[in-house]
């Protein structure tokens, strides 16, 4: 905003009250939607995550509090560290580090040791965001970059077996995650083993839809309760802080593809189990919707969602991993520039002659 050549201070001496008001020259538009800012968007995500965090605490008790709290603090510290290293203005107040921290924390198993949370957070902010130039410039979802790093580096601590502890005060964690059980069940079936006894019982219990929907199952902290995710996610979409096109695409494609997979006998879980089980909904509403790493246009967003949904199911059915949201989101992040280019909307009135 350039100051004009007019006197800047209002004399305010009565007689010539209007003689010297400060007048600024600035480009139009001169008014803005003041209530909707970057910070407000980040705050919305945190508000949307409240039911998810609450459910995580209800299920995993203080494990959830410690894990999420640790990730938030580490992310904030990393944000401060990296902005200081880059001699950039303090960006820690924009709230994005908190969002990354909460999402990373919620995507970890309850059992992950403290240093994993710290390393994951540091990598999320450093490699996921700062090296690209900070908020708005990154290509990949920072929380997922952090999670991928620790998942590949600490396979034992984040593998399927890490979730299970046979002796624990928490009943839920004595069972494997539903998707792991389903995977094992399918593998046993395919190998022609006689499926009986323990695994049969576990599978029967894992396929109970209602506990799966409410979240009374083992899993990463934030993923277990589809109900909590739907509540928070609906809020986000209504506020337009997340684009509904993305979760819609994810749900649609994953539901269809999982249905086909179930019909072909590739998975013992039905499409509905795949939808409410694992972190599919959490990913659809809170991870894939990261505005920075998703496309710009409504059509692009929907295609992006479809891609994430398909990849999640493909990974669940054909890879060694029981779950695939993280890799699905990261892979789709990589094609966002292409999606943007393919979905340039047609201007009202038709394309401009030069670009036709």
């Amino acid at each position: 905003m350039a100051e004009s050549g007019l006197p800047q201070e209002n004399g305010n001496d009565g007689a010539v009250a209007q003689a010297a008001p400060p007048i600024h020259v600035a480009p139009a538009p001169h008014i803005a939607e003041q209530a909707f800012t970057t910070r407000r968007m980040m705050a919305d995500v945190v508000i949307g995550l409240v039911p998810v965090v609450a459910m995580a605490v209800a299920i995993f008790h203080w494990y959830a509090v410690v894990q999420v709290g640790l990730c938030i603090l580490s992310c904030l510290a990393a944000e401060v560290l990296f902005t200081w290293m880059r001699r950039k203005p303090v960006s820690v107040t924009d709230g994005s580090a908190v969002v990354t921290g909460v999402i990373l924390g919620l995507s970890l198993p309850w059992s992950a040791p403290w240093y994993i949370a710290v390393i994951g957070s540091t990598v999320a902010i450093g490699l996921g965001k700062a090296v690209f130039g900070g908020l708005g410039c990154n290509i990949f979802n920072p929380a997922m970059v952090g999670r991928a790093f620790i998942m590949l580096s600490f396979a034992r601590e984040l593998g399927a077996s890490a979730y299970v502890v046979t002796q624990s005060r928490l009943d839920i964690v004595t069972q494997a995650t539903p998707l792991t059980i389903a995977k094992k069940f399918a593998a046993d079936l395919a190998a022609g083993k006689v499926v009986a006894g323990d695994i049969q019982l576990q599978f029967e219990s894992a396929r109970q839809l209602w506990p799966l929907f409410l979240g009374q199952v083992n899993g990463s902290l934030g993923e277990t309760s589809a109900l909590a995710v739907l509540i928070g996610g609906t809020y986000l979409c209504l506020r337009r802080s997340a684009s509904w096109e993305i979760p819609a695409g994810v749900v649609l494609s994953s539901f269809l593809l999982a249905g086909v997979g179930n019909w072909l006998g590739l998975t013992p879980f039905t499409a509905l189990h795949h939808l409410v089980g694992g972190s599919l909904l959490f990913g659809a509403f809170f991870i894939a919707t990261d505005p920075v790493t998703s496309p710009l246009t409504p059509k692009g967003k929907f295609l992006f969602g479809l891609g994430v949904g398909c990849l999640v199911i493909l990974i669940r059915l054909f890879s060694g991993y029981p779950e695939g949201v993280m890799f699905a989101v990261l892979l789709m992040n990589a094609v966002v520039p292409l999606l943007n280019r393919w979905t340039i909307p047609r201007p009202v009135g038709g394309p401009t002659p030069a670009s036709a």
Binding site: P21, H30, I31, A32, G134, G136, P345
Partner: protein
């Protein structure tokens, strides 16, 4: 099948800023006392500048031509007061352009002032029959002679729209009373206080263009205007249509899309698809030009905003300085921050108050520091809200960032020239990126690069 609730026409996307018209919506139009001096710019329209038609120190009367239009896309300018001309000077327009201008020192005695002026412009009888007596070309010529230009803001010479073209027959005439910019109420007051000349002007324009369908379009936040126009259009064949209130409904292309359901081609005019759009003020001025032979010397404008002490709707002489308007409205408040020529969405800020009002000036909006407060600019989050609100369906952030980076090819691939700078994108941007400004810069760079 017609449903009980008829859906009001509108266009896709756009936004709903607070309309803030309460400052002046109820204020009857006041006539600004004759200023001591006016400065008549020789370019107040889109097109070629006028040639000065009077020598310095010449006596001129209200309505005398002071600038002659020599090209087709141009419009003459007239003395807006009686008085003595001075030496040719230069005026700086709100958009920063410097143009030659004729200063006129007002005489003691004026032909018309006060309520007489208002009565002469809008009062009296406005017969709605007998339009067939006028030859179409006669009407277009009268518009040209009177220096009529679009009073909605773009200031496109009216006679160009009214001149018949065999290749592009006109089917529909839209009279634009949307006034979608926040704060502004000049058109609204005209519609409420003087609907008859608007209707007569519409009938004349229909006669000139050969349009079979005449529709006066008003947003549904102006029920009083709709009612006044409905009364004035009885038994004239002119239809009044209520449109959903949405910014920028008053944009010519958005209006045509909403009412006619047809898209004006990018880079084209409504003319290309058989539609002519006239602002309500232009329509009333056309009626006056044809029926009473009076040129365009005055216009109605709103002086509004929380930064002005007494917001008013004024009938002011063209060429009067913004300073005079502000003085008449009690001056600026101490927290005034920006003085905007036009509305807050598309208007230009004034760097100096000694700028003359032109034909296209629809108002003066004074905004306070609170009004213009914005969060600090951050990097684009690529959230796509600018895409969600763009009435032209552009990806504003891509165009703006491409412009900033000097990648003109990319900007063109994203249709930069289709942007009409309505400001919706910058209004909603959570990162406060000056999108419109960047796009404008890109357009200028593009013009330079392609022009050479």
């Amino acid at each position: 099948m017609t449903s009980a609730v008829v859906r009001k026409p509108t266009f896709a996307r756009g936004l709903h800023p607070a309309d803030r018209k309460h400052f002046t919506a109820a204020a009857a139009i006041e006539v600004l006392p004759t200023p001591q001096e006016v400065l008549i710019p020789l370019l107040q329209h889109l097109g070629a500048p006028c040639e000065p038609a009077v020598k310095p120190r010449t006596e001129v009367a209200l309505g005398d031509v002071v600038g002659e239009a020599t090209k087709f896309v141009s419009a003459p300018v007239h003395a807006s007061v009686s008085g003595t001309t001075r030496r040719l000077s230069v005026a700086t327009l709100p958009n920063g352009r410097h143009v030659s201008a004729v200063p006129i020192k007002a005489a003691e005695e004026q032909l018309l002032a006060g309520r007489d002026l208002f009565a002469d412009m809008f009062g009296g009888e406005w017969p709605t029959d007998g339009m067939d007596h006028y030859e179409p070309q006669q009407i277009a010529d009268a518009a040209r002679g009177a220096g009529l230009v679009g009073l909605g803001g773009a200031a496109f010479p009216t006679h160009v729209k009214l001149t018949r073209n065999e290749e592009k027959p006109i089917r529909t005439l839209l009279i634009n009373g949307c006034e979608c910019e926040p704060y502004l109420t000049a058109d609204y007051r005209l519609m409420v206080e003087a609907p008859s000349p608007i209707v007569v002007g519409a009938l004349l324009a229909a006669r000139a263009t050969g349009a079979e369908e005449v529709i006066v379009c008003v947003e549904d936040n102006k029920p009083e205007a709709v009612e006044a126009l409905r009364r004035a259009t009885q038994q004239t064949g002119v239809e009044v249509r209520e449109l959903k209130t949405k910014y920028p409904q008053g944009g010519e292309k958005q209006l045509v899309l909403a009412v006619c359901g047809a898209e004006v081609p990018t880079g084209g005019l409504p003319l290309d698809i058989g539609v002519v759009v006239l602002n309500v003020g232009t329509s009333a001025a056309l009626a006056r030009a044809v029926l009473r032979g009076k040129p365009l010397t005055h216009r109605i404008l709103s002086v509004s905003g929380s930064g002005i002490r007494q917001p008013k709707n004024l009938l002011a002489a063209i060429g009067v300085s913004y300073r005079a308007l502000i003085d008449y409205c009690g001056g600026l408040t101490p927290d005034a921050a920006r003085v905007v020529a036009g509305g807050p969405m598309m208007g230009f800020t004034l760097g100096s108050l000694d700028v003359p009002v032109t034909k296209g000036t629809s108002g003066l909006t004074v905004l306070t520091r609170d009004d213009v407060r914005k969060a600090a600019e951050t990097t684009c989050l690529r959230c796509g809200r600018c895409v969600d609100v763009c009435p032209v369906n552009l990806v504003a952030t891509k165009i703006a960032l491409a412009s900033q980076a000097g990648d003109l090819d990319l900007a063109e691939r994203y249709h930069i020239t289709a942007c009409m700078e309505c400001g919706c994108c910058a209004y909603v941007c959570p990162a406060s990126v000056p999108l419109v400004q960047l796009i404008r810069q890109g357009k200028v760079s593009l013009q330079k690069a392609r022009g050479s």
